[in-house]
Every structure is written in C-alpha cells, then in structure tokens.
C-alpha cells in the first residue's frame, strides 16, 4: 500500500516533470509551420506542377505572356496605389480612433468599440447593397446634399468608393491592433513630458510614435495585404473599371480557363507580396523593441480640456456615423422591404419558413455552423500562433523573418488558386478531404493565423528582455515562462486576434463556397443563396439574415470584449 503510494507519487512527479520540461512551444511551432506548408505550399506547388507540366486537359495556352503587356502593368499600378491610399486613409482614421477608444473613458465605450468591429464581418455583397443606398445617385448622401442645396455627387464606379469600402473594412484592424498596444503605455510618460513642458505635438512625436511604431507597421502590413489582394469589393463596386491583380487571376481561371496564365500571375503576386513583407521586415529591424509593462490608465472624458473634448466628441460621432450608417441601412431594409405598412417582420418570418426546397438553408443551421467553425478555427489559430510566437522569440532575426513570411502567407496567396490547389491535393483515398468540414476549418484557421501571430509577436516583443533573461536564469522552465510571463501580457492581444478570427469565420464567403461539402452552410453562403433568385422576398430575406449576422457578431464580440476587461482587472 505504502510503497504503492510512493511509486504512484514518483510516477506522478516523473510525469509532471516530463510535462514541465516538455518543449510544447517548439513542437506546436513545428506543427504550425507544417500545417502552413502542407496546406499552402504543397497545394500551390501541386497546382503549378499540374498546370505547367502534366495536364492534358489544359492545352494550347501560352503562359507568362500577359505579365509584360500594358494592361497587366496598369493593373499592377492600380492595385498598388489603391492599396497604399487605403492604408493611408485607414491609418488617418484608425489611429485617432485607437487613441480615443483605448485612452479615454466615455459612456457606452465598449458598445461603440464592439460596433466599430462589425464592418469586418459583413459579406461584400451586403456592403455593396448598403453602399448603393448611401452613395448611389438616389442615395442618402445625395439626398442630404440636395436638401442642403449642394450639387449631388456620384461615387458609384469610382476609385473613391472602393477606397471608402477598404477603409470601412480595415479600420477595425488598425483600431484594435494599435489600441491594444496603446492601452499599455504608462500615463507617467505622458505626465512627465507635460511637466517638462512638452506640447501635444511634441508628445506625439517623442513619446507615442516611437512606442507605437511597431504595431502601426504590423497593422499597416496586414491592411496593405488585405487591400492589395482585394477581390469582392473591387469586383462589386468597381463596375468593370478597376481590376486588382487578384481579380485578373480570377478572370483567367474561371472566365478564360487559362490556368497557365492565372498561375503565372499568382506566382508574380506572391513574389510581390513577399518583397513588400521583406521591406516591412527591414523597417521593423531598425526599431528597437520598446518594452512596456504597465496597467491601463483611462482619462475621463470630462477631465479633458474643452477643445480636446470637442475634438473627441466630433471624432466619436464621425466613427459612429461611419460604421452605423451601412448597418443602419441593413436594419432599415430588413424591416421595411415587402411591407404594406411602415415596419414589418415579414422578412424574418419567411426567413424561418421552410420552402420545402433542397436549397432552403435553415438560418439556425447556418448560424450554428458558422459559430462552430469560428470556435474551432480561432482556437487552433490562437494556440498555434501564441506558441509559435513564444518559440520564435528566442531565435535569430533571420529565422524570425522566415517564420513571419510563412505565417503571413495565407494573405498573399490568391484565394481562388489556393482553393483549387486544396481540392486537387487532398483528393486521394485516405486524405480525401474534398467535402469534409475539416478542410474548411483548416482554411479558416490559416486565414486567422496572420492576425493572431502578429498580435502575439507584438505582445511578446513588448516584454523587457531582462525579465525574460531573469526567469530563465532563475531556473524557470520554458513552459512556465510561456505561461507565467508571456500569456498574461499576450492575453489581450490574443483575444483581439480571436475577434478577428471570429470575424473571418462569420463573414468569409469565397473559400466557404468552394470548400463546403453537402451538409454545412455558413451565414454568408445562405445570404448569397437568397440573392441568386429574383424577387423582392429574396432581397428581404437576405437583408433579414444580414441583420441576424450583425446581431450575433455583436453579441460574440461584446462577450469577448467583456472577458478581456474582466481578466485585465
């Protein structure tokens, strides 16, 4: 009995030691990079091989011919400059918003912050419909302009509408990534510099900017890649006048069936994005990692000086209107289309009425699938990203860049080539994933990894090096360092990343449309399903479901936000 206990204890201790010394981070980083290689590189290379060397079904096309012509070069120029303007405009609105949301306390702040994230989840086709009601020739903006006796403007089919949409989608990224970092800058810096006579501008240049440069660069990189590879927005709002490279690739793939050309351009796009990433990496290497470790301090809005207060109030109003308006249009349409009186619930009732058709998607089913997908992919992406980031932290700069490129790759690869690549790679007997939900979970995990990885890196970089060294010197094992030092700091960053990852899962259409099997649907798929038939009842249902999507996302984001606050205090 006694010896049994001892044995048991020894066994337990052995197991405990084994687990404590077990290099979890190393293995998860390995698994993560393996996952990315298997599900990104292998399909891509497989597709290149099939298209260029071995397919008999695709003969007679010349490749690399379009890369040199004027049309392509002009598209490349357009793609690049619209992405740069979009990044600039997003920063212009996003940075002050980040400051306001994460440094100043005002009523309903959390609700507003949650609301500002909603654009991220809206399917493009729905935003297109909402933008029509706002910026179209008969839209609300023109109505107001006419009312005030200004001449009306027509934004439809102009580059400005595309940039506006890009800003609409991407300011949540700037606000949240920069804000999460901004929150942790100690108020003492601010106070000390004030005491020493620094003005606001001086404080901005000498205190905030150096401390924030690395999150600003990271978020700008993500936004740039998003806009550079923009597809749906350009397609729906561009009216054939504007094509990004991603759209050109799609045209070659499905319209012209010229996969050779599509693959040549895809390779070009990836190389171009990697070069952009190299530039980012170079810029980042000049930055000394600024360590910040403090608690939040919020300035109450009433403590601000009058001018500053006015500025803050106006800016909050602007952000509210900017994010509220399109969503407001959705709500308005959902409750007024098909109504004989003013307000109707008809669209919501028909939404839940089974038509008896195979194509009928129960909203409850779609919502459940969307949430399940979101939970699994966020969880996987968060674990992979956090441990990879904490593993890579101790490695050389070269390896860091390599990992960084790999982990941001999902944003660089054209969606259509990746989807086709996945389908032709995982098609053999035991790894036949073509209609399995596993493939969709993996796809969403991959899309979420860039966000979570860069947020984790930001968090871990902000921890002073002497603290990390001291822990290791004092015999703390690596898991404990990850758990006790990295995790508490990274927690808020990871939760922010999870919000984005949920956003991707809830709102993503392209990969879900190609990779779904027969039994699962996401909410955007259901919305598109309604919009594929004529009839105002279908339009009404699409709006009603969009409203449900907005409300569900709002609740989820709000809960995550609350959770974030509660663990912070």
């Amino acid at each position: 009995m006694d010896s049994g206990m001892v044995k048991n204890n020894a066994l337990l201790r052995g197991m405990l030691n084994f687990f404590l010394d077990y290099p979890i981070d190393k293995h998860i980083a390995m698994c993560g990079s393996l996952l990315l290689i298997i599900f990104i590189f292998v399909p891509f290379i497989q597709l290149i091989y099939l298209v260029f060397f071995s397919s008999s079904a695709l003969e007679g096309n010349i490749y690399f011919s379009s890369l040199m012509n004027n049309y392509f070069l002009s598209r490349l120029w357009f793609t690049t400059y619209q992405a740069m303007i979009s990044v600039g405009a997003s920063l212009l609105i996003g940075l002050p918003a980040a400051y306001i949301f994460y440094r100043i306390d005002f009523p309903f702040k959390n609700i507003l912050l949650t609301f500002a994230t909603i654009p991220f989840i809206l399917p493009v086709v729905v935003v297109g419909l909402a933008f029509k009601e706002l910026f179209g020739t008969n839209g609300l903006i023109n109505y107001i302009l006419n009312f005030l006796h200004f001449s009306s403007i027509n934004l439809q089919g102009t580059i400005w509408l595309i940039i506006l949409a890009h800003v609409y989608y991407n300011i949540p990224i700037i606000i949240r990534i920069v804000g999460t970092h901004l929150q942790r800058i100690h108020q003492d810096y601010d106070d000390a510099s004030s005491l020493l006579g620094a003005g606001n501008f001086r404080k901005l240049i000498s205190i905030y900017f150096p401390l924030l440069i690395s999150p600003i660069l990271s978020s700008a990189l993500l936004v740039f890649l998003f806009c550079f590879t923009s597809f749906g927005i350009v397609l729906i709002l561009g009216n054939y006048r504007f094509d990004t490279i991603e759209v050109v690739i799609y045209r070659f793939t499905t319209g012209l069936f010229n996969l050779q050309e599509a693959m040549s351009i895809s390779i070009f796009q990836i190389i171009f994005c990697v070069l952009v990433f190299a530039l980012y990496s170079k810029m980042n290497s000049f930055i000394k990692s600024n360590s910040i470790t403090t608690k939040t301090h919020f300035t109450k809005i009433n403590e601000l000086k009058f001018i500053k207060k006015m500025f803050v109030v106006v800016f909050i109003l602007f952000i509210c209107i900017f994010t509220f308006l399109p969503v407001g249009v959705l709500f308005f349409q959902a409750f007024t289309i098909n109504s004989s009186n003013f307000i109707t619930f008809q669209n919501f009732i028909t939404l839940f009425t089974d038509t008896g058709n195979f194509s009928y998607i129960s909203p409850i089913n779609a919502i459940c699938w969307s949430i399940v997908l979101a939970i699994f992919s966020s969880l996987f992406a968060a674990i992979i990203s956090f441990f990879s980031a904490s593993y890579i932290d101790r490695k050389s700069h070269k390896l860091k860049s390599l990992f960084g490129t790999l982990y941001v790759m999902p944003l660089m690869i054209p969606a259509i080539t990746l989807s086709i690549g996945l389908i032709i790679t995982f098609n053999k007997s035991f790894i036949d994933l073509r209609h399995s939900v596993v493939l969709l979970i993996i796809a969403h995990t991959l899309l979420a990894i860039p966000f979570l990885y860069y947020l984790s890196i930001l968090a871990i970089n902000s921890i002073p090096k002497d603290i990390k060294d001291a822990c290791l010197l004092l015999g703390c094992n690596r898991n404990k360092v990850s758990y006790k030092i990295y995790l508490p700091i990274a927690r808020n960053y990871i939760l922010t990343g999870i919000i984005f990852s949920f956003g991707i899962s809830l709102g993503e259409f392209g990969s879900a449309s190609m990779l779904r099997g027969s039994n699962f649907y996401t909410i955007p798929l259901a919305i598109y399903q309604f919009l594929s038939h004529p009839g105002s009842i279908n339009l009404g249902n699409a709006f009603a479901l969009s409203v449900l999507l907005v409300m569900i996302s709002f609740i989820i984001f709000y809960v995550i936000e609350k959770f974030k606050l509660s663990i912070f205090s």
Partner: protein
C-alpha cells in the same frame, strides 16, 4: 519527440477516417450553386432506391467545371449536373471525364435540344434557358426598347446594365446572343455603340439585378437577366402581374444544362437511376419552381405563373469552340475596357 509526432499523426488520421463516408449506398452529385429540387421528391427517390443522395454545391458553374477538369479520372462525385452547351465546348476530351450513360433518351428529348451536345451519349440534357433583357414596368410601361438596335438609341443612354462575360455565365450567354444576332463580323460594332451609349458593366447577375436595376432601388431600368425572371418575380411576390417584363431583342442563345456520369465513379447503376429520375415527369415538373428554367420534357402541366416565362421558338444554333470563346471574351474586353 517521435512519440509526440506519431500521436499527432494518429489523431489527424482518425479525424480524417471519421469524416469519411464509406457506406456503399451513397450517391453523390456535384453541381453549381443554383441547383435546386423539391426536398420531398428527392426523399422519395432516396427511399425507393434505398440510397443516400448527397448533393455537393461547389461554387458557380465555371468553378465546378474547373474542378471537374482538374480532378479528371479521380472524381469528387458520381454525377455532375450543370455542364451546359458552353462549358461542353471547353472540354477537349470528353471521354476522359465522362462515361457513356447508355440510356434511351432520343424519344423523350427533342432532337434540336439533343443536338446542342454533338455527342449526347455522354451528357443528358435536363433543362434550358435564355438570357435576355428585363425592364422595370413601374417606370417604363409605355415604350420599352424592342430590339438590340433600339438599345443603342440615345433615348436609352445610361439606362442599360450588362454583365461581364469573363465573370458571369449569363453575361457570356448575352455576348453569344449578340454574336448570334449580328454575326462574327458585326458584333464588335454593336458593343462599341453600346459602350458609347453609356452601358453599365457589372461583375455578375446579383450586382446588376439587386444593386443597379431600378426595380430594386437602382437607377437603371434595363438589365440583362433571364426570360424567366418576371415569372420568378410573380411566383415569389405571389402576384398575377409581375413588376418586371421581358424584352426579346432578337436572336437569343439557348443554354442547355446537362447531367453526366463522371469517369471513375463506382456507383454507375445508381447514377443511371438518378438520371432517369431527373428525366421523369415528377422531377421535370418542379424544375420551373425550383430552378426557374425550362424543363426539356414537353407537354407537362406547369404552374400558372409560368405563363410569364415566354417560350422562345426561333432557335438558331451557333458553332464555336473553346478558342472562339476565349477570343470573344478577349475581344469584348478590349472593346469595353475603360
């Protein structure tokens, strides 16, 4: 280390195997997003044949064709529905993708529909449709344009929405219709005139119909759509008089959709049963109500609102191959590009 990796691999493979469907009585059909069927008649079929029918929607018609081409010989499904007489031209070697269905169909389907597929021993036509122009009756019930030539009149400047043929299947069908109408040497001039008349080009039917068409709050009353869209409006709105009307501007291209058995299928007997089922009265009769296209079987009793979907009797055929299609799209893009 080794153990860890092995465990991971094991878990992974267990998940994969768990996700597989190895039961033998499953018939899978790959199709595009617009496929639909009444659930109860599908259930009837499944029950009668002791089968589970799995229908996999895999994107739009072009994406589905791309997948089938790339998975040749190792198909994702037993059947594919949705290869039309345009996609058919893009398949170079049909015997590498399909196996002959060996069904007697010549007495069920009319000769001129069968002829859309030069070799109909592989593909069985199921339905057909036409892309034309719809107009918004609320605004323009006085004098809508009546022909292709009317559309380039100054009167209709800035009123018409067309679809990009390199992105959208109805867009390509409309382009082919104009080629059919004006001939290989004159269609380019027609499109130049349309462009001059400030035609709006959008990426797909959804954007054209729901964003820019005046019936749905846009500011253009003429849109490229289907001859069956007014009927669908009547059906969904429960109306006797639909709010949109058809314009038959001249010759129209007829799109015929087919079903075929994919090479490599291990379920050929059941696949044939399903094709027979798709040709049965029961299935054909519900085609208007679910997919809003015309069934290939004639003399069926169709719902009353289907009267708003006109029968096009003047059918002319056009011969073309994949190179022609690519050339047309490229030429069109060069004309219409801004």
């Amino acid at each position: 280390m080794c153990k860890f990796i092995l465990t991971i691999l094991f878990c992974f493979s267990v998940t994969l195997v768990g996700c597989q469907n190895n039961s033998k009585s499953v018939l899978t059909m790959l199709t595009h997003d617009s496929f639909d069927i009444k659930q109860d008649i599908l259930d009837d079929f499944s029950k009668k044949n002791n089968l589970k029918v799995e229908i996999i929607k895999a994107g739009d018609a072009n994406q589905v064709l791309t997948r089938v081409l790339l998975n040749a010989g190792n198909p994702e499904a037993d059947l594919i529905f949705g290869i039309d007489n345009i996609a058919y031209k893009r398949i170079e070697k049909i015997d590498e993708l399909f196996i002959p269905h060996e069904l007697e169909i010549t007495d069920i389907i009319s000769r001129n529909i069968l002829n859309e597929f030069n070799d109909h021993s592989y593909l069985v036509p199921i339905d057909y449709g036409f892309v034309n122009i719809n107009y918004d009756q609320a605004l323009y019930n006085i004098n809508p344009p009546a022909s292709y030539d009317d559309l380039i009149l100054n009167k209709w400047n800035g009123k018409f929405i067309v679809l990009d043929p390199s992105m959208s299947s109805p867009g390509l069908q409309f382009l082919i219709s104009t080629i059919l109408h004006f001939g290989e040497d004159r269609w380019q001039d027609y499109w130049k005139a349309l462009k001059k008349n400030d035609v709006l080009i959008v990426d797909g039917w959804e954007t054209g119909y729901y964003t820019h068409f005046s019936h749905n709050g846009g500011n253009r009353p003429l849109v490229v759509s289907y001859t069956t869209s007014p009927a669908a409006e009547a059906f969904f709105g429960n109306l006797t008089d639909p709010p949109t009307k058809n314009i038959i501007p001249g010759k129209l291209f007829r799109q015929v959709e087919s079903v075929g058995i994919l090479k490599g299928s291990r379920n050929i007997v059941n696949a044939k049963k399903f094709i027979k089922f798709m040709l049965s009265d029961k299935f054909q009769k519900q085609i208007p109500e679910t997919m809003f296209v015309y069934p290939v079987r004639e003399n069926l009793k169709l719902p009353i609102w289907w009267q708003h979907a006109p029968q096009i009797t003047d059918i002319s055929k056009i011969e073309f191959n994949n190179q022609d299609l690519q050339r047309w799209i490229v030429e069109w893009s060069k004309i219409m590009r801004y």
